[in-house]
Amino acid sequence: MSDPATAIVHPGYGTFIKVWVALLALTGLLVTLSHFGQTTAVWGLLILTPLKAGLVFYFFMHLRYEGPLLKGVVLITLGTLLIFFALLFADVAFR
């Protein structure tokens, strides 16, 4: 049967523990950057936070092991939200 998540070998404990360590390290980096002023904190937010969320989506939520349909559903949703963000700030910038 076509079940992308069961068609492959399941990842072991080690993979997820490594991802958890990476998430903690990125959180530490985010907190450290916030001590260098607002601009650095905002850049940390814009770069590191999506990276952390991406790790959770990709590994913990098993998107890595899913087929194109589920990946597409998530990407279309996130893309739509990004378009809303862009439209809002395009409006704010030219007021």
């Binding site: 076509s2 916030s34 937010l45 913990f60 559903v73 939200l81 809303f84």
Partner: protein, 200 residues
């Protein structure tokens, strides 16, 4: 009755993901509202952000990230037929969820003690940007807290199913879907930490 009950695990996961994207849009709308207001009142957001306890925010982040790890390890355990370990890991997730809520309640109690709560007399004396900051803070962390409580309810129900062998090595889609919900709750907090505690 028939002995064969068909299961469509992929269909179940697809349904769960469709529900999760509605949650993403719900919180996404609030993130957009936050971004607009922060751009409009940067100084007042900074001032109001100083009132929040960064240490508690970071501890809660570590707690939720760890709870996400334990739930995903619980799935690995059941895939390997290690029922007791799977149940222990899932119970740890519930414990960590409780720790998160207790820390959050201490944080909210401290705000209430300082007269900072929705519609309070003290809040009404603050500049508009600070009022909006705390309005968003209570709305977003409160809505997130309700999701944590709902997630704990779902995971507790799945723990019971594990105990009764309704979730087992050859049929664990309920645990996978419950885990997906819990991870999304974690992802939302991943964004809330820098928005309110670090970059405000």
């Amino acid at each position: 009755m028939s002995e064969h009950v068909p299961h469509d695990d992929f269909g179940s996961r697809l349904g769960m993901w469709l529900f999760l994207v509605t949650e993403m849009v719900l919180f996404g709308g609030l993130f957009i509202a936050y971004s607009y207001m922060r751009a409009k009142y940067p100084g007042e957001f900074h001032q109001a952000g100083e009132e929040l306890n960064v240490t508690l925010g970071v501890i809660n982040t570590v707690v939720l990230l760890t709870s996400s790890l334990t739930v995903v390890l619980s799935i690995v355990a059941i895939q390997r037929g290690e029922k007791a370990r799977s149940m222990g890991l899932l119970a740890s997730t519930l414990g960590l969820g409780t720790v998160f809520l207790v820390i959050k309640s201490f944080e909210w109690a401290a705000k209430f003690h300082h007269g900072l709560y929705p519609n309070s007399a003290h809040l009404a004396t603050l500049p508009p940007g600070e009022q909006i900051f705390f309005g968003l803070y209570f709305t977003m962390t409160g809505l997130h807290g309700l999701h944590v409580i709902a997630g704990m309810g779902v995971l507790a129900w799945i723990l019971r199913m594990l105990a009764k062998d309704q979730v087992r090595q050859d049929h664990y889609i309920h645990l996978e879907n419950g885990g997906l919900y819990w991870h999304l709750v974690d992802v939302i907090w991943i964004f809330l930490l820098p928005l309110f505690y670090l970059a405000a």
